[in-house]
Each structure stands twice: as structure tokens, then as C-alpha cells.
Symmetry: C2
Subunit: 369 residues, 2 copies
Amino acid sequence: MTVQPDDTRANAGRIVISVDAMGGDAGPTAVVAGLADSASINPDIGFILHGPEDELRRLVARKKILEGRVDIRHAKDVVTMEDKPSHIMRNGKGTSMWSTLDSVKKGEAAGAVSCGNTGALMALSMLRLRKLPGVNRPAIGVLWPSRNPQGFNVMLDVGADVRADARDLLQYALMGASYARNGLELARPRVGLLNVGTEEHKGHAELKEAHRLITDHADAANFEFVGFVEGSDIPGSVADVIVTDGFTGNVAIKTGEGTASLISDLLREAFKYSPLSRLASVLAYTSLQRLKKRIDPRRVNGGVFLGLNGTVVKSHGGADATGVSAAIKLAFTLAQSGFAQRLAARVASTGTLSQDDSQSAQADDKDNK
Amino acid sequence: MTVQPDDTRANAGRIVISVDAMGGDAGPTAVVAGLADSASINPDIGFILHGPEDELRRLVARKKILEGRVDIRHAKDVVTMEDKPSHIMRNGKGTSMWSTLDSVKKGEAAGAVSCGNTGALMALSMLRLRKLPGVNRPAIGVLWPSRNPQGFNVMLDVGADVRADARDLLQYALMGASYARNGLELARPRVGLLNVGTEEHKGHAELKEAHRLITDHADAANFEFVGFVEGSDIPGSVADVIVTDGFTGNVAIKTGEGTASLISDLLREAFKYSPLSRLASVLAYTSLQRLKKRIDPRRVNGGVFLGLNGTVVKSHGGADATGVSAAIKLAFTLAQSGFAQRLAARVASTGTLSQDDSQSAQADDKDNK
């Protein structure tokens, strides 16, 4: 590891974000371009950048705005998209991803950003940062374009774990509400539990149990529980936070993304159809750009890992400079609001709810009734 | 029940569809308008219509095109959207829904269409028509706009049952492939199993088992198994049939619908933004209409109940005349192709795969290897 006291001193007073330069589809060039975008917008961000030192030094030197704001840490290995999480947990020590998380663990950075392999990043994050006391399964939360005034809803889990029992879903509700308070500035977020219908008799037994648990904890945790919601409510306006297991959540957001992408392609085709429609597309250009910006997935790039001792933002693997910059901004915003500390306090205040401890969990339920 | 020999005779030579006039949000007026739309396009359809006789007679009399083509059957009760399926199974005998299915059971109609309560319709369908031998859980299959040349993919189950084990998923693959052959005229459909990633190590144990079972049966059942697919592939081009459990499928299609509806509203807003964009929207009118038609959910209105002795099409509860007419067209197309008989033959040919009979199922697997 290369320690660069000059750069670090230069970043004094700045909020430092630890960034993994490797593992994304577009390589370190896109990541460094994203750093430059962020640095030019926000004078209060500094960076620790992880990857092959010589290459990164060259890339950073080309961006004037990054002068004195990037501390480069050498890491020779890269986690690829094909690596199995279990393999990386045993052999990941020399990777840029490991090094990126290490800076958060050591307190040198207020948050981490990586475009790499999601499964490996979650596995290493759990290994290096550890789960918050009381959290059984960490979750990945994303912002999703919605009809709500804030423009986005929080959705979790979108793929940290394919399973979630009733107590995990309660934790997700607590963590999602905390994220909405700090990331979307909603004082009292409305939380919905994803199901196949809004009637209370619908769905798995596990969901009915989760419904009961979340109802019991809503007041103490300062959120409003709106009960069961449906897939159509993910981009809707009845809830600000959508809680579900990582299997369903992952399928749902990918279906939404696929549908949006199909419509956008068909729209482009429609505008190419005739000379008149081509003229229309020229006239509508600014309106369509505005729409595109409103639902541009790059603008809300970044899944936040919730339930760990530290903030980790997973950027989309295919992120370009704009996407990387959005993920950095998210990590910065959460660091600035002291999100990690607030979330830890929130989870701790609802008592121990680990699966192995249903006795104390039941006691906790009673206290909240 | 009112028997009307005159009308029935008039429908000789026509394919008769049994239609529930009640239970939809828009009431019998929209249903009768849908009948009229269908009748004017297709001279080969006749109808048996179920509901309050006097009201239906008045509505039908207003549509010249329906003269001599509608056999009205009196049913005084209606299944509401709030009725629990279990209640309807015990007390549904006087309802228009019951009567609608009865016409299929008795062989008077080649298929049934209802806009009513999905859960009640599935429960009554299972009670009246019975499951096909070898089918454990019937499924609801829908057509979903996609990038494939046929314009649509088949997706199932979208909500007949919130659970599905590996053998149910195999049945869904067989039934979905059969539907794609008869509904979309694909000789050798490509079937994908929905998961959170395409790698074979991903997902629940149940999914890995289903992957193995479907691989073993693909050749004999004359479809191509493309393995695991993701949410983004539901509107994609890597598979023609997407297989999943009813919980995940229901959330996925509702998320897709919600996303499409949000984008369409934002698009409308974008075009209202300035005088220039309003002008653009006028010029782009026909192109946008073409796009709208391509992804209009009313055009593919109708979930088909698969795995029963008879064809039942569930129309969207909020369907208007266009939606009802699309659902009727679907029932007609499937009836014409002898779908119910072909599906029964297909399921029978893969042997008994009930959950209680894993011994014989394993033997069946070996035979197919």
C-alpha cells in the first residue's frame, strides 16, 4: 500500500470517498472521469483510489481538477464479474475491491464505491466491515423513479440475498425508512411490503408475519406502514419505501429496467418512421431529453449496502463517468448526513431481532405494542 | 337457466365462446360492446352470455351485429372483486361466473372469458373444469410485449398460486411452450427459467432442481431450454417463454405495467411543456399512436388459465370494449387451434409428475435422458 501524506493533507476538511478503480465494464478510465466530474461539481469531496498504481497515476494526472485530491493505493489484483463470492472471500486480499473497503474499515474514508461484481462486493463488505449488531441479512437498497414528489422511491432488497424471513423484512423496513430519511429527506417515510395484492389475506405466511412485525414497530421507528403494496406501486405514489426479499426485488427492478429500455427503443424507432416524425423528434428534442434525464438510470446509479458498519455504494457494472459520479455523490450525501451512524442507532433501538433469538424478539414486540 | 334454441341454432358452425357479463369494473355495457366489436370483425364467433337476463337482453338488442349470435343465460348473482375465493367455492352456484364455466364444462362453448375476480375465477375453474391429469398447480399465462419477432413473450405463472416447486415449474415450461406453439405459432419455442442471474450457481435450490428437470424434458417436449434468464429478459429476445412462480411473476408484470404507465404519463407531460413540444406532439401523433398500439396492454388483454380441462381467459378487471374483444379473440384463437386438447396430450406424454410420486417422476426423467 502506498501512503501519500501530501495528498491526504490536501484533502483535509474534505469528505473522503474510497473508490475502486477496477471491475467495471468500462475500466478505470471511466472511473477516473467520474472522479473528475464529481470533483468539479463538489469542492468538498476527496478520494482514495484503488488499483494498479502506475496506470491510475497516469489517468489521474491527465485531469487537472483532480490535482491534490486523489490518494492512490496500489492493488495488483482485480475481482472480475465471473469470480464467485466464496472464492473472493478466501483469495481477495490483493484486489482493489478489498483495498477499497479497507479504507472504510480503517476510518480513512467515509464511504466506499465500486462498479465491481455485486456478490463479491457484498461478501467482502460483510467480511471486512461486519454486519451491524441486530442485522441478520444486509440488503441492497436502490432509488427507483416514482410518481412521488421526491421523484424516487427506495426499494430493498434488490439482490443481496435471495431469501428473507419475516424478521429480515422488518429489518429492511427499518433500514429502508432510515435511508429514505437521510437520502431523500423524508421526515416520516411511508413503508409498503411487496405482495401480490393489497388485501391482508394474500401472500405467503411469511409475509403475513412480516406484516404483523412491521405494524408493531412502525411507530417506534418513526415511519408510517401502509401495509401490502403491489408491483405497480414500486414506481407509484402510495409508499416511499418498498420492502421485499432479494429474489423478488432483483427480478422486479430488472423487469422495470427492461421494460423502460424496450419502450425507449420503440420510441426512437417511432420517431424515425417518416419525414414528419423525424421533424417532430427534432422539435421535441429538449422535451425528450428532459424526460430521459428524469428516468435516466445513470442519475440514480448506486445500490447502497444497508446493515453494515460503514457505507458501501455498488455502482452499475456498465457505469460511465456520469454513472460513477452519481454513485460518488450518493456516497458523499450519505456520509455527510452521518447515515451509517444513524442507521446503526435505529437498528439498535429496536432491540435484538436475530433469528436465533425469537424469545427476546417476542419480548421486544410486546414492548412496542 | 334460459335455453334459447333459436339463438343456438343460429350459431351453428360458429365457435362459441362463453362470456361472463358481470364482475368487471366497467360492468356489462363494456362487455356487450366487446362482444359487438368481436362479432363485427369475426363472422365465425358466437356467444353464450351470462348475467341478469333482462339487463343483458336490453344491452344486446341495441347492437344490430349481435342479432342471432348471443345466447343469454340468466344468473342473478355476481362475484365481486372483494369476494374471497373460498367463499365463492362454497356459495358461487348462482353467479354469472359459475354459469360461464358451466357452459364450457357441458361442451356448449369452446372457451370461457371473464373480467371478474382472478382468485375466484381460478378456484371455480378448478372446481368445475378440474385439473388436467398430471398437473399439480394450474398457472396463468400472459403475453408480454418483447423484442422478439413475434412481438410478445409468454410469461407464466403470473398469479394463480404464490408457490411453485421444481416439478410445478417443469409443468409451467411444458404448458408455456404449448401455449407459445398455439398462441404465437412458434414451432420450437425457447423457454427460460427466471432467476436473479444467468449463472448456474445462482438462486434457490428449488430453481436448480427445476433447471435440471426442464433440461431433461426439453427435447421430448419439443422446446429449447435456454436456462436461467433475468427480469430484463421478460421483454427481451433470448427466450419466448418465461417460467416462474406466481408470486414473482405477478410482481414482475405489475412492475413492468407500472413502469410503462409512468413513462407514458411523463412523455405526455414532456409534450405539454412548451409551444414547440406541443407542436412536436401533433407532428409525431401517428408515430406515437403506432408505439402506443404496439405496447397497449388492452391489445394483449387476457391471462390464460393453463392446466385445466378447458380454456379459460381472464380479462383485466378494468377492461373496456377493446380489452374484452381482445380477450375473446384470444379464447377464439386457442379454441380454433384445439389448444386445450393439444396441451392435455402434451402434459400426458411427459408422464405423471405429481409431487407425491417422485419415484415414477424419476423413472420418467431417466427415460428422457
